[in-house]
Every structure is written in C-alpha cells, then in structure tokens.
Amino acid sequence: MEWRDEGIVLTARRHGEGDALLSLLTFAHGRHRGLVRGGAGRRRRPLLQSGNRLACTWRARLPEHLGHWTLEPLRLYAATLLEDAVGLAAVGSACGLLELGLAEREPHPRLYAALLSLLDHLAAAAPDRLARYVRFELLLLEELGFGLDLSACAVSGRTDDLAWVSPKTGRAVARTAAGRWAPRLLPLPPFLVADAPATPADLLAGLRLTGHFLERHVLAPRERLQPLARQRLLALLERSAA
C-alpha cells in the first residue's frame, strides 16, 4: 500500500549503518514511523532534523508493516532555529512530547496545524512564540483527552477573575473562591484566559501548569521523565523571569 501526505519530523534514530527510523507527525495519518534508506547518510540527514516539514510518501506491502519513507523538503525549520537557544528548546520539547504522548497512526489534524503554526512563529522569532508554545501544550493535553477546563470557576461558576487551577480536576478556580485552598492550587497565568501579554513569570507559570498535567497523565503512566528540552526551556525561562 502507499499514501502521500505531509509531516513534521519528530525523531530520527539511526538504524543499522546507513538507514534511519523516522517518526513523523503527519497531517492525515497521525504519528507514523517508517524506514528512510540512507537516512544516516550525509545527503538525507539534514532533512531528518526535528521540526522540519516534509512531503512524504509511505510505502509498505501491508499496512501493519514498518514501511519506507520517500521524502521531499517543504520547509527546513531546524536550520532557521539552530542559533536560537529558546527556539531549539521549544522545538525539541514539542517534538519530544508528541513522540512520547501520541499513539501511532491516530490522526490529530488540529495538533498538526498547531505545531506548524508554532514552528512558523518560532522561526520568525515572534514575541508571543512562547505563549503559543504553552497553548500548544494545552491543546496536546486536550487532544489526549486530558484537557483543562479554563472556561469558568469550578466553585462559583464565575467566568472572570480566574487565577488558579485545581491540580486534581484541571478546572479553573476564581481568585475569590479559592479561599484557604489557594496555596494548594496551581497559578493560572492571565494570558491563558484572556487576551493579555505574557511576562516571563507568566510563561513559567503556564509551563508549570501544563507540566503538572503532562507529568500526571502522559509521562508518569509511561514511566518517562519530561524531555530534556522541556527542562531546558524551563531553565531558560526561570533565568529570564529572575
């Protein structure tokens, strides 16, 4: 069988001497793996960097086989980001989380579109790129079935003054309704519920919020730590917030 699609490189691992096992997030076929002949070689390796957008053809005799990729570049985002420490960390983190969290061959077109938009903003070094990154993680949680409910306060039903999130239910809590429980709740940065600019401290709070739920629902069940790139992104933000 054979199909054509487009995809974003999540990971590429060397397979044998000259080949590579490539995992792509494709638009219509979800996270999909396959073999790239000559993928470890000098000519193909630049294509197989995390975050690159490729036109792909997957071929195998039977659908359950690993299959082979034939690839053409659409946009090589990785090359644009090599000099940007924050951009590299964000790409590594997004690709790592998708690789760890998504089931294979399950389409997530919204996530694909969000990743593409994130890559565009990272490549352009847009000022709101990290706010978009935090929203991307929120979308990832939602697509995996663990979305947070930030629409109204779980206690009072208010839709304004939302300042906290319950670490158990993932539902928002208003500042006034939190009461003595406030120290046990996770801070909800304003940019996630309103059209507000995000300070480094807000971005850090956003990453800690999504990190808590990613850890709980995605990483811990798989006995995995959060990707090193995400830890690095947190460290870079901690420094700029300080």
Binding site: R45, V91, A229, R232
Partner: protein, 204 residues
C-alpha cells in the same frame, strides 16, 4: 560451509561498521588466505591496541598514553580548547591540521528522548578544565543538528560565568560545493552567515 571458528570470525567482523555478512565473509577469507602478511600483523596490532589504548583522562580522546599525544604536546596552545562530539571529529580536525589548541571529547550530544544528560557528556570535567587550565577561548565544534546545537547552547550558557570567549564553527557552503546541490537548510545558514567580500585583498 566454513568451520565453527571461521564462522565465529565472520560473525565478529560483521559487527564492525561498514561490513555486512558478505563483506565480512570476504574480509575473513582475505585474512585466512594471507596469514603472514595480513592475519598475524592484524592480530598483533589488535592485541597491542586492546592492551594499551585507553581514554585520556583530560580530553577523553583514545590513545596509547594518558594523557594522550595531543594533551602531552608542549607546542599546543593551552588557551584554546575545542569541544567535539566524538573522537572521529577530533581526528578529522587533526587531519585538517589547522587547529593547534587542545580538545575535549563529549562522547555524544544532549538528547531529549534518549535521556542523555550533561552528566553523561562529562560537562563538569570540561568546566573544571576551563577553570583550572587558563583557557581563554572555547570552540564549540559540534554538529549542525538540532541535538548538536542544543548541546552547544547549553555549553555556552555553562561557560558564560567563566569569562571565556565562546565560538562555534561556521555553517554554510562546503569546499567544492555547488549551490544547486545544497539543501535549503545549508543555503539558509550560509546566507545568514554571509561576510563582506574582501575584493583585491592582498595576502599578508
């Protein structure tokens, strides 16, 4: 059908890079057909290497001595330290013959999914060398890959408090490279790193 011992030799040769089952069989046959000129000298060389080659405790290069020949060379510039991913990168730079400083071999790059962290790359040893050996410039000669440059950014941050100049290799068009054969990423990097053209420059 070869003897068990020969099959074992073929299986071992097959594990070497560049050798598949057929080429391992050819290599084994070549060795067995030339015992005096090939097999025994190779055996001696392998025995010597197995006995004497070890990792240098200063730079993590492979050599017969510790410190290795590069670290022990008094003619080299102690203030210049080049950080490479693997021993083969060090050998490549040495073949080029244009770098006269010291080296440090990381042994890989930080990798998000393979959980290769700073402790696996000997970063603390690198920082100690920079602190204690009067290094003034660290050249981060790491691959132009996402993992390579993530590692370079990480090292640059760790080196910042030590007040050393941190540089990296240029990315762009290779010698003999024709533009229409280059991938878009390399072209983009080369365009970003373009330099003023020194027309009429006279060699000094």
């Amino acid at each position: 059908m070869a003897a068990v011992e020969v099959e074992r030799l073929i299986r071992l040769l097959q594990r070497l890079p560049g050798l598949g089952p057929r080429s391992a069989r050819r290599a084994a046959l070549a060795l067995l057909e030339r015992p005096d000129t090939l097999l025994r000298p190779l055996l001696d060389a392998l025995a010597v290497c197995a006995e004497r080659v070890r990792r240098c405790s200063r730079c993590r290069n492979l050599d017969v001595g510790d410190p290795c020949a590069v670290c022990a060379d008094p003619e080299r510039d102690d203030t210049l330290l080049c950080v490479v991913e693997r021993v083969e990168d060090l050998w490549a730079l040495e073949r080029a013959g244009s770098f006269r400083g010291r080296y440090f071999v990381l042994g890989g790059t930080l990798s998000a999914l393979d959980e290769v962290g700073p402790e696996d790359l000997g970063v603390d040893l690198l920082l100690r060398r920079v602190r204690e050996e009067g290094v003034r410039e660290v050249v981060l000669a790491l691959g132009a890959t996402v993992d390579g440059q993530t590692t370079a950014h990480y090292l640059a941050e760790r080196l910042r408090p030590l007040a050393v100049t941190t540089t990296r290799l240029a990315h762009g068009v290779p010698m003999g490279g024709e533009l229409h054969y280059l991938d878009e990423g390399t072209l983009e990097a080369a365009l970003r790193a373009r330099q003023p053209f020194r027309a009429g420059h006279e060699p000094s």
